[in-house]
Structures are given as structure tokens and as C-alpha cells.
């Protein structure tokens, strides 16, 4: 079941919201349990065969979490705690590795050996990367004494909670469990319904009205046969289109998740903060898929040593983190290249900052510095997106060749017409000139911002009639597009 479907909006959501608040009048634990059951049903709607896998993963991690916590509290040696932690994480990685990477490794081995092995396809359970990472974080937090509450119903709800189950945001135990324990979330609140409903509609609008319209335009280039000679205009238009499609699709999904959760009074962490306005790659990764960046920083980069062992080691750690981050997105060399490219960007960015290049250029360019840096960053991100979207490296290189202008700039028979390209300009304007959903609603703090200072802009949400009319019109437009159900791009990860 997708958030952008009649079944979800018209049937599932009203029933679950009503059920939760009815149950809450009887018993808070019952309400939380009903929400957990509804979340598992939401997952089972996609493929009921994977429900035992999800529940098994939840039970496994819960038991390991309790064991780690008990050992730590009972004064067991750090080695014992680490052993429990290692076993738990290994179990998670085996599960993820089997479903997501086994065939990739087998295929790569076959390619190296020149063998023609018959590799049986393995269906990737929906959201496995997200619920596995969420639980790895839980185990690590438990071993460090950061996770305090071990209520099984709340834990199950924390992992399976339907707004984030399929495509994130990746949650921290410590930011969710206290919320489940708050009595006020079990009371229906018109404020929460208004705020949650508004963000949900904004997300739906981004997905249906902005992202989906770009899909077929982008596919014309990215799905073209290998060896196609693209001219610069069509190659850049396709990459620009994909950059916009992915942003509106994934940030739209994240907004919907935040909005849905807010209906229940529960705040999820913000996942996007206008990443294309970033003036360098470091800033970009602080604003793009923020909960994944946080996870990679806390559970990979810092344990690898972070910046504690000199510049060389720091750059190596960055490269390893980003390459693995790329691999997390999918079992394919294109993702590894994409991640590594971002690793290189980050290394270059840190090196540049170390040399003080930014300060010199900002003095030279004055007020033009920020827009120039922003454009340059966006261009670099777009180049990397080529590998992220292309079906294989060969296709990606075809497109990159086209982007250099080696095959010419314009042609009379382009895969993407000039009109399609011009139609992307308003979307770029939205990305660069308008406040994002969280800045727009900063006054009512719709999500967990993790210390991020979101500046309220002039265009600010308030529960007024004009605002209700504007959001209502957006909601109505979305309804007319609901029949064209398309999955979210990040579901595949």
C-alpha cells in the first residue's frame, strides 16, 4: 500500500487514526499495540510472506538489546557487552547481506571467474535497509547506555511504525520511545491533525504533481539503449530532471511520513532541509537524507576513527563511509561509484577548506560567492546522480559523454525537447527560491530538527482561511492524480 493511493488515504488511514484514538480512551498500551498491529498489516499488504521476517527481526533485536542492556547494568565486562553487540549486528548484517547483496557478490564473483552461474533472483523485502539500520542503531545505543526504555510494545511500534517503515526516516530509539510514553499523544488534537494534514498534503503534492511528471522525461535518456550518442542539451536536461524528480519524490515521501506521524502527535526527524541550496558538499550532506547521514556519521565514520587520527586517515574514513553509503542504496557498482564520487567531493571540500580557498574566493566574488558556490555544488551533485540513476556504468558513461558536449550541444531529434527542459525551470525556482516545508511551518515545529535552527520565513504557515484554501486546492489536485499510482523511488533501497 502506497501513501499516494486511494486505499491508503480513503480506507487505511481513517480507520487506523480512529482506532488509535478509540483504543487510547481505553488504555494507552492497547492504543500503541493497535498502532503496531496496523503498521504490520500495512507492511503485510505489500507481501504477507515477509511479515514473519519483519517480526523475527524485531524480536531478534529486542532480545539482543535487552541482553546487552542487562549485561551492561549488571557490570559485565566491556568485552562481553561488545560480544553481544557484535553478535546482534552480525545477525542484522547477515539478513541484509543475504537479501540485498548475496546475488551482487555472487554475480561479481562469477564475472571475475568468467563463470556462467545460474543465479536465482532474491526478492528484496520492502524497507529492509531501513528497519535493519534503525535496529543496528538501537543495539549500539543500548551498548552505550543511550537507550533506556525496553517496553516491547513500544519497541515494536518504534520499528514497525508505518509512517517510517518503508523508506525512513531512520529513527533513533532515544528520540521515539519517550514520545510513545507521553500521555498527550493518546488524546486527539485538532492542532496535530491540522499540522500533520498540511504537511502530508505538501508531501503528496511534491510527489504527485512535481516528481511524477518528470519520470517519463528522465527515462527517455536513462533508459535509452547503450551506446546512444546524446547531445549536451538532452543529457543535461535528463540529469537536471532526475535531480528534481528524486528530490521532490523522496522529500515528498519524507514530508508525508512526518505529516502522518504528526496526526498521532508523534514528531519524526526532519530528513531534508533544502539540500540544493547548499553552497558546498559538506553542507549538502547535512541537508540531504539527513537521518541516513546521521546514521553513517554516528555508526560508521566516527567508529572508524572520524577525524581523530589526522587528515589522511580522516579522508580515508570519509571515502570508506561514502562508498559503503553508496552500497547501502543498492547492490550495484553504479551505487558504489556514486558514493565514492561523493567521498571524493567531501575530501576535496575538506581539503579546500583547510587551504582557506573558500575565504579567498568569497572575498573576490563578494555577494556572487554564495550563488556561484551553490551552482557549482548543484552541478557536482548532478554529475553524481548520473551513476545513481543509470542502469549500468556503460549507460552512465554515455550520458556523461553527452554532458561534456562531445556529441554536440543541440540536435533536431533530441530525446528531451526544449519544452520539457523549459518546464523544469519553475521546479528549479521552487527548489531555490521558496522555503522548504519545515521552514514554512517552523512556527509550529512540525518535526524533530535535532538542534537545527530553521529560520521562519516571510511565507509562514498559519491556520488561516487563505492558507486552508491554498492547501485544500493542492490536496484536490492530488486527488485527481491518485489513480496514477507510482511507487516512491526510495522504496527500492
Amino acid at each position: 500500500m502506497l501513501f499516494n493511493s486511494y486505499e491508503f488515504i480513503g480506507v487505511y488511514l481513517p480507520i487506523v487514526v480512529a482506532l488509535f484514538f478509540i483504543m487510547a480512551r481505553l488504555n494507552h498500551r492497547l492504543a500503541a499495540a493497535s498502532l503496531a498491529v496496523a503498521s504490520v498489516a500495512f507492511y503485510g499488504y505489500w507481501d504477507v510472506r515477509y511479515v514473519p521476517l519483519l517480526l523475527g527481526s524485531v524480536a531478534f533485536n529486542y532480545l539482543f538489546g535487552v541482553a546487552i542492556s542487562r549485561n551492561a547494568r549488571n557490570g559485565a565486562s566491556p568485552a562481553t557487552v561488545r560480544a553481544w553487540l557484535a553478535c546482534g549486528i552480525a545477525g542484522d548484517l547477515v539478513l541484509l547481506g543475504y537479501f540485498k547483496y548475496f546475488n551482487f557478490l555472487l554475480g561479481s564473483a562469477a564475472a571475475i571467474a568468467g563463470a556462467d552461474w545460474n543465479i536465482v533472483p532474491i526478492v528484496l523485502p520492502l524497507g529492509i535497509s531501513f528497519f535493519t539500520f534503525t535496529q543496528i542503531a538501537f543495539l549500539v545505543d543500548t551498548s552505550q547506555g543511550k537507550a533506556q526504555e525496553y517496553n516491547f510494545v513500544h519497541y515494536t511500534l518504534f520499528v514497525t511504525y508505518f509512517p517510517h517503515l518503508i523508506a525512513g526516516p531512520i529513527l533513533h530509539h532515544k528520540e521515539m520511545m519517550p514520545q510513545f510514553a507521553k500521555p498527550e499523544i493518546y488524546r486527539i488534537s485538532l492542532e496535530n491533525l491540522a499540522i500533520g494534514g498540511t504537511i502530508f498534503i505538501i508531501g503528496l503534492f511534491k510527489k504527485l504533481d512535481l516528481a511524477d511528471g518528470l519520470a517519463h522525461v528522465v527515462a527517455r535518456v536513462f533508459e535509452a539503449p547503450a551506446g546512444t550518442r546524446f547531445v549536451a542539451m538532452e543529457a543535461w536536461a535528463a540529469v537536471l530532471g532526475y535531480a528534481l524528480q528524486l528530490y521532490f519524490d523522496f522529500s515528498g515521501y519524507s514530508d508525508m511520513a512526518v505529516g502522518l506521524s504528526r496526526l498521532f502527535g508523534i514528531k519524526l526527524p526532519i530528513n531534508f532541509n533544502s539540500p540544493y541550496k547548499a553552497a558546498n558538499i559538506i553542507e549538502f550532506w547535512r541537508c540531504w537524507h539527513m537521518t541516513l547521514s546521521r546514521f553513517l556519521r554516528d555508526y560508521l565514520y566516527i567508529p572508524l576513527g572520524g577525524n581523530r587520527h589526522g587528515s589522511g586517515r580522516r579522508y580515508l574514513n570519509l571515502m570508506i563511509t561514502m562508498a559503503l553509503g553508496g552500497l547501502w542504496h543498492g547492490a550495484g557498482w553504479t551505487y558504489v561509484i556514486w558514493g565514492s564520487l561523493h567521498g571524493l567531493y567531501l575530501v576535496a571540500n575538506h581539503g579546500w577548506q583547510h587551504l582557506g580557498g573558500g575565504r579567498i574566493l568569497s572575498r573576490l566574488l563578494g555577494r556572487l560567492w554564495r550563488p556561484t558556490a551553490c551552482l557549482l555544488t548543484f552541478g557536482c551533485v548532478c554529475v553524481a546522480w548520473v551513476f545513481f540513476r543509470a542502469p549500468d556504468v556503460e549507460h552512465a558513461l554515455d550520458i556523461l559523454r553527452g554532458m561534456t558536449g562531445i556529441n554536440g550541444v543541440l540536435s533536431s531529434a533530441m530525446h528531451i525537447g526544449k519544452r520539457d527542459t523549459v518546464e523544469m525551470l519553475p521546479l528549479l525556482a521552487i527548489v531555490w527560491l521558496l522555503p522548504n516545508a519545515y521552514e514554512f511551518m517552523a512556527r509550529v515545529e512540525p518535526a524533530l530538527t535535532a538542534g537545527l535552527q530553521l529560520r521562519p520565513r516571510r511565507l509562514q504557515w498559519r491556520p488561516t482561511v487563505p492558507m486552508a484554501l491554498a492547501i485544500g486546492v493542492m490536496g484536490f489536485l492530488c486527488i485527481t492524480l491518485l489513480r496514477r499510482v507510482t511507487p516512491f523511488l526510495y522504496f527500492q533501497f
Binding site: Y6, L190, E191, L193, A194, G197, T198, A219, R220, E223, A224, P225, A226, T228, P391, S412, A413, H415, R462, P463, T464, V465, M467, A468, L469, I471, G472, V473, G475, F476, I479, T480, L481, L482, R483, R484
Partner: protein, 394 residues
């Protein structure tokens, strides 16, 4: 402002227009495209005028069945298939008494069912043209042909399906166009009442003097619709330009393109049940002294060659053609393989997309076949040679 007021305004802003659109579109659908009576009305009108009927797509099947029943005693042959053969005329084949029964999006399962039903229901029927649209994937599908029972002329569309359809983007956009029309008419209320009480567009004359009328038309382009012989006029469609030709060829080879996905769907293997059932119908027609002709419809010049050489499709497209050719040869069925339309002199301007031609291409195909023209070539066609000594079947 209170949150309750905000939520009320927000909810009403979504619900009021949505419900209004559902109501109006449901009404328009109920009296129009979902109304089984509309086909009978169109048939009666065409009987009187011999004009062009522009009818809603969901009513095409009803219309064609009723029209065929209306002309039945004089009909000796039918053309079965999808919109790709809707421009093929009996005159192209050199025959009289031909009705073009092709229906939009008719897959091969439906064609087989219709062939069996019509062969059984019309004892005077001597020959058929059955189109096999392989590039659209119709020949590969898994659905078995329906039991050719007494196919009732009227099919109905469920209320749930009608309601679901009311809020789709095309219907909402269509309603907006209607509202503009009503306002521009000068008497908007009268125009709206007329539209909500009658699905007819009102009669008009086409440039060649033939009358036309819209019957809850999906595409209101005047003079686009079915002629008396069942062929489609394709009025309003634009011929492909030279640039468009290159673009269509390039896009048709994309991995996510319609043709590539269709051909790859079943690894190029046609559903053998379809071919087996068509063989039986062919035998029935042969026993009557008639003939089954299988047509692989013409494609945009160059398209078939591209599909037969592209790494994504070559293997499967080649297999499809080999299987169909072998089947036709084994069962003495006349096969006209017009896929490489450029071999018959067709040009890109004869087409308005990759697989639809205005009819000019069919004219060229059968002119090229020259001496093979019906009726003589149909009986028996395979032994006949044209002036260059070529077989009539390719």
C-alpha cells in the same frame, strides 16, 4: 483562527469540488460512455445517414457488434484486430461486403474470441483478416480466449468503475474543457443542461459533405470516428514529420519503451493457444470456400528493422516472426507480413505514431501486392504469383 475552522475549510476545499466533479462526471458517464443505449442510438443514426460516428471508446465494442448485426446479410468478410487495422478498407483488398470490425486496444485473445464467435454466428462469412499485433505484446499475453458463446451486444460498466473514473485527471481536464465550452456558448446554463441530459454532440457536416455526430465522444474532434464500413477516419491526427520519425524510432528502442517491454514480456513466444484457435477458424472458413488471412500490421518505416537488430529485442522479435511464419505455412494460412512497411513504399507521413497509419499505407501495401488482389488471389492465394513471380504471402 481556530484549528477546527482551519480543518473545516481545508476539508471542504477538497471535498466540495471533488464531490461536484464526481457527480457531474458520473452523470456525463452514465448517460454517455457507460450507457449501453448510446451504441444502439449511434447505429440507428448511421443507418439513416451513412455518416461518421464518433463514439466513446468504451462503447466501441457494442457499436461494432450492433452495426455488424445491422448489415449482416450483406457482409461476407470482416477485419478483426485493434486500432492498428481500423484504417484498412475492404476496397484495399479488392472486395465488397467487408466490415471492419477492429476495436481499439483489442488484444489477440479478443480477436480469437471474435473470430470464433463470428465464424459460428455468421454462416455466410467466407473470409477474415485477423491482425496479430506483436509489437504491442497482444500475441504474447496469457489470457485465454473467452468461450465464444452468444456474445451479447451490450456490455455494461460497473458503478464502482464509473465512480473511480470520475476523478481521474483526463476526466477532470475534460470537464474543464466542457465548462469552458459551456461558458463560451453564450448560454451556459442551457449548454450545461443539454450536456447533462443528452450525450449527443448535434449533427455536423464534414469537409467531404458526409454528416457526422458525436455520441458521448471521448475525443470530440469533429469527423473523427467510424465510417459506414467500420473503418476509422483518424481525423485530427497529425502525420509524423521527419524529425518525429527519428524521435519515434529512437524512443521505441528504449528499454522501458512500450515495444521493447511488450516484446520482452514473454521472450517473444506467441501464445500457442491463440494460433491453434485461429487455425480452427481458418479451417471453418476454408470449408465454406473462404479464407483466413493473418496480417502482421505495418509499422513506421524502419521500426521493424530496428527491433530486429536491437540487442534488447532482436532475439525475441525474430522468434515471434519465425513462429508465426512457420505456423502460417504449416496450416496453409495466408500471411501478409507488412511490418517492414518501407518495403511496400510506405512513408513516415503515412503514420501518426509508430504503429498507426492513416490508411494510405494499406493502399500502398495492396497496390504493391498488385496482381494478388482479391478476390482471385484469396482463393487459393498461396499458389498464385504476382507479375514478378513472387508469392502473395511474404
Amino acid at each position: 483562527m481556530s484549528y477546527s475552522r482551519y480543518l473545516s475549510v481545508l476539508g471542504l476545499t477538497i471535498l466540495i469540488p471533488a464531490l461536484a466533479i464526481v457527480a457531474i462526471n458520473y452523470r456525463i458517464g452514465a448517460i454517455g460512455w457507460a450507457n449501453p443505449e448510446i451504441a444502439a442510438t449511434a447505429v440507428r443514426w448511421q443507418r439513416e445517414t451513412h455518416g461518421i460516428v464518433n463514439i466513446a471508446v468504451p462503447q466501441e465494442r457494442n457499436f461494432k457488434f450492433l452495426s455488424l448485426a445491422d448489415r449482416e446479410p450483406g457482409v461476407k468478410g470482416v477485419i478483426l484486430g485493434a486500432s492498428t487495422v481500423q484504417s484498412l478498407r475492404g476496397a484495399d483488398l479488392g472486395l465488397h461486403g467487408v466490415y471492419n470490425f477492429a476495436i481499439s486496444s483489442n488484444d489477440t485473445a479478443a480477436v480469437v474470441t471474435e473470430a470464433e464467435y463470428l465464424a459460428d454466428a455468421m454462416p455466410q462469412l467466407e473470409w477474415m483478416v485477423a491482425s496479430l499485433d506483436w509489437v504491442l505484446g497482444y500475441v504474447y499475453r496469457d489470457e485465454p480466449p473467452s468461450v465464444p458463446d452468444k456474445v451479447e451486444q451490450t456490455s455494461t460498466i460497473s458503478t464502482a468503475a464509473q465512480l473511480e473514473d470520475t476523478l481521474t485527471l483526463p476526466r477532470v481536464v475534460g470537464l474543464r474543457a466542457r465548462l469552458v465550452e459551456w461558458v463560451q456558448s453564450g448560454a451556459p446554463v442551457q449548454a450545461a443542461v443539454q450536456a447533462l441530459t443528452s450525450p449527443l454532440s448535434g449533427p455536423y457536416r464534414c469537409t467531404d459533405g458526409v454528416p457526422g455526430e458525436g455520441f458521448a465522444a471521448s475525443d470530440p474532434t469533429p469527423c473523427a470516428g467510424f465510417r459506414w464500413d467500420g473503418t476509422m477516419s483518424f481525423e485530427g491526427q497529425q502525420p509524423i514529420t521527419e524529425t518525429g520519425h527519428r524521435l519515434v524510432l529512437a524512443r521505441s528502442l528504449q528499454q522501458n519503451g512500450e515495444y521493447v517491454q511488450s516484446i520482452r514480456s514473454h521472450r517473444g513466444m506467441p501464445n500457442e493457444e491463440y494460433l491453434r484457435d485461429l487455425t480452427q477458424v481458418a479451417a471453418t472458413l476454408r470449408a465454406r470456400g473462404g479464407r483466413m488471412i493473418v496480417l502482421l500490421p505495418p509499422l513506421l518505416p524502419g521500426l521493424e528493422r530496428e527491433l530486429l537488430s536491437s540487442t534488447d529485442t532482436a532475439e525475441y522479435a525474430g522468434l515471434t516472426k519465425r513462429v508465426i511464419h512457420r505456423w502460417a505455412a504449416d496450416h496453409d494460412i495466408t500471411l501478409i507480413d507488412a511490418g517492414a512497411s518501407e518495403d511496400f513504399g510506405c512513408q513516415f507521413s503515412d503514420f501518426f505514431d509508430g504503429h498507426h497509419n492513416f490508411g494510405g499505407c494499406y493502399d500502398k501495401i495492396f497496390t504493391k501486392l498488385g496482381d494478388c488482389r482479391a478476390p482471385a488471389w484469396l482463393l487459393p492465394p498461396l499458389e498464385r504469383k504476382d507479375e514478378h513471380g513472387k508469392n502473395c504471402s511474404r
